[in-house]
């Protein structure tokens, strides 16, 4: 087993490379001037600037949280570049206009925009809003979506084109004062995705955003807002890889989901940012606030995540179950290796009657990593007949890593039924030997066992992602066995 781990530790990050694109950057540091610079760069209306400044002033009064089971050197927020944009500023009409350097980057990542476009002719279609650093470079399929009245664009564009919607919903789920990182994001976010599904519309394709962190030392502050009107349905995919870096990169995103009556939002993430080297140097710090609200009855929000990257993951995609009979789901696979640290989980806040939530969390820890599940199930006073089922499993590889479970349950209504199951297991020598005795080597055996262990979560992913996620698990655990 130890040999196994040593080899795994020696596997290099497959997606580490740097693309040479000239950036148009703000100077390092954070103050009101920088915020005004970002807002001006983006031609924002006054209300937006006011929003940012308010968030910034609040942020100044806040302290970086330290309750999570993670240890890191706190970032110097004055040593970060808060705005950088690739030079091409005009709106691109076709793929030919995209910076060839950028296309090469996508090729290396294995996400070809051409491929995505080609796919548009067939059943499974993925509309992709490509974000490199802070500016949305290309939005595909917009017209197809527009026919149905669906708005899918960059956040910056939404501020310009759909200010009423942005003003109505932005911060309605995650207030700008919600937490330290959400406040920071509200002050300095540069771009992200905006999605609006009108009443009664079923989005005809999976919506997808690929995030990349490009210019060195640039913090990434994305903001995503998805609104599903009554009886609408949308499935959103988010996936990311980042180039190798020496210094830590801060990422503090905010994602807000709003589901109206009978609406369904399915949000899937495959996250594979640079986790740092085998000594734990470098790697992305990922502090994300993701929250959805089931505003009215029968609404449903489902989070699925496969987290294999980042040096530090601090992330709790949550659902506020406000509408009666609304449903919240959280399916998660978190893999940590070497010196990676993950503190991730969910919050299910039951407010409406007959609300239901399901939590399935699968942690896999290897190397010297630490993997924590942290989850809150809150049944409020008026939430009659609320139901929750939680299952938190941890799988350990080797004896140098840690798995931790922090379940919090608050019940203020005695009609609630809350179930919690938790298991911790090791990949057994017995299982490995059984596979080997059938001709399957250690590496393949681990991949089989881990994929089997994560099956309940992987099966929740849309087809486009399921294969990618399986491959990613294999790559993440490649060389982990001797």
């Amino acid at each position: 087993m130890n040999e196994v781990l040593e080899q795994k530790i020696n596997t290099d990050y497959k997606y580490g490379f740097v693309t040479d694109i000239d950036a148009d950057s703000a100077p390092k540091g954070l103050n009101e001037e920088i915020i005004r610079f970002i807002s001006a760069k983006k031609n924002e209306p006054d209300w937006m600037l006011a929003y940012r400044l308010k968030a910034f002033r609040h942020w100044l009064t806040m302290e970086e949280p330290d309750w999570a089971h993670i240890h890191y050197e706190k970032p110097d927020f004055q040593d970060i570049i808060y705005y950088s944009a690739p030079k091409s500023k005009k709106v691109l009409q076709s793929i030919d206009e995209v910076d060839p350097e950028l296309l090469k980057t996508f090729e290396k990542l294995g996400i070809s925009v051409l491929e995505q476009e080609r796919l548009s002719g067939v059943e499974s279609r993925v509309a992709m809003d490509v974000i490199v650093d802070s500016v949305s470079v290309k939005t595909t399929f917009k017209e197809t979506l527009a026919e149905k009245g669906i708005i899918f664009c960059s956040f910056g564009e939404a501020i310009q084109e759909h200010p009423a919607l942005v003003r109505k919903y932005m911060s309605s789920v995650v207030p700008s004062s919600d937490n330290f990182f959400a406040a920071l994001n509200s002050a300095v976010f540069t771009d992200g995705s905006f999605c609006y599904i009108p009443k009664g519309v079923r989005c005809p394709m999976e919506l997808s955003t690929y995030f990349r962190i490009e210019a060195a030392g640039t913090g990434q502050f994305e903001r995503t807002l998805i609104i599903a009107e009554e009886d609408s349905h949308v499935s959103y995919l988010e996936g990311c890889t980042a180039p190798m870096r020496d210094e830590n990169q801060l990422h503090a995103a905010v994602v807000e989901l709003v589901a109206h009556k009978n609406a369904q939002i399915k949000y899937s993430t495959v996250q594979n940012w640079y986790p740092g080297d085998k000594e734990g140097k470098g790697g992305v710090f990922n502090f994300v606030t993701k929250r959805g609200i089931c505003l009215e009855e029968n609404a449903k929000i489902s989070w699925t995540q496969v987290e294999t990257g980042s040096a530090i993951t601090w992330k709790y995609p949550s659902v506020i179950l406000k509408g009666d009979k609304s449903v919240g789901e959280f399916y998660s696979v978190a893999v940590t290796n070497n010196y990676q640290q993950a503190d991730t989980g969910t919050k299910m806040i039951h407010i409406g009657k007959d609300t239901k939530s399901t939590i399935i969390s699968k942690g896999v820890s290897a190397g010297f990593s630490n993997n924590s599940y942290r989850g809150l199930v809150r049944i409020s006073k008026g939430a009659d007949n609320a139901r929750n089922f939680s299952q938190c499993d941890s799988l350990l590889m080797g004896d140098q890593c840690g798995a931790h479970t922090f379940p919090y349950i608050e019940i203020k209504n005695n009609t609630a039924i809350v179930e919690h199951e938790a298991t911790t297991s090791k990949i057994g020598e017995d299982q490995l030997f059984y596979c080997k005795q059938r001709g399957i080597d250690n590496e393949k055996a681990i991949s089989l066992i881990v994929n089997g262990y994560c099956k309940d979560v992987l099966s929740q992913l849309p087809m486009e992602f399921a294969v990618e996620a399986q491959k990613l698990l294999e790559v993440s655990l490649e060389g982990s066995v001797g």
Partner: protein
Amino acid sequence: MLTIKNLHASIDGKEILKGINLEIKVGEVHAIMGPNGSGKSTLAAVLAGRSEYEVTQGEVLYNGINLLELEAEDRAREGIFLAFQYPIEIPGVSNINFLKTAISEIRAYKGLEQMAAKDFLTMMKEKQELVEIDRTLISRSINEGFSGGEKKRNEIFQMAMLEPKLSILDETDSGLDIDALRIVANGVNKLKSEENATVIITHYQRLLDYIVPDFVHVLYNGQIVKSGSKDLALELEENGYDYIKAEVEA
């Protein structure tokens, strides 16, 4: 096919096998019997390549190769199959996926072309009928929630799929009722050929009513103390192991 010479093996510094000598030729069925703790399962584990056991002395030649130098997975790819006494559960991994992976690895090792999906499914169906295993078991996760008998039948099904040259059945009869025993034995008999060999490790004689061995060996205290024809098994059944112990210690 298999020549074991003066094999000594220990676990955690404790010697279990104390000089095993055994010769197995292609087409033969050997039964290894013996009381609990005599080293039967250790012999199976050592041949299969379990790394917890340390071979301290002796050699094992398998079709001319030094078996002890091969990794466990390579031994399997060379055609050695161990039917486990306690088959392992692997949640979430279907039997189909598991066997597909195993066959693909074995074929890659041998430099053979990969099997077409259609051929694989045809083969599954054939073997499933041959060893009389329920189809629903095959699509379920490996051994997860299987009864003891189902697990043993699944071992025989895997053996049928992988078409080994040397099969070692470690206490495959333990925990089986008489019907399951008959089905398992039938499977083994059907898979027996002039091109392969079978080693049956068992505590009781009853399995040998169904699978008739060419040779019976008695293992006691890490050594083969007696070898003979199938009649030896009946003799053991009648007199118990005590008389062997008495004979050895005399």
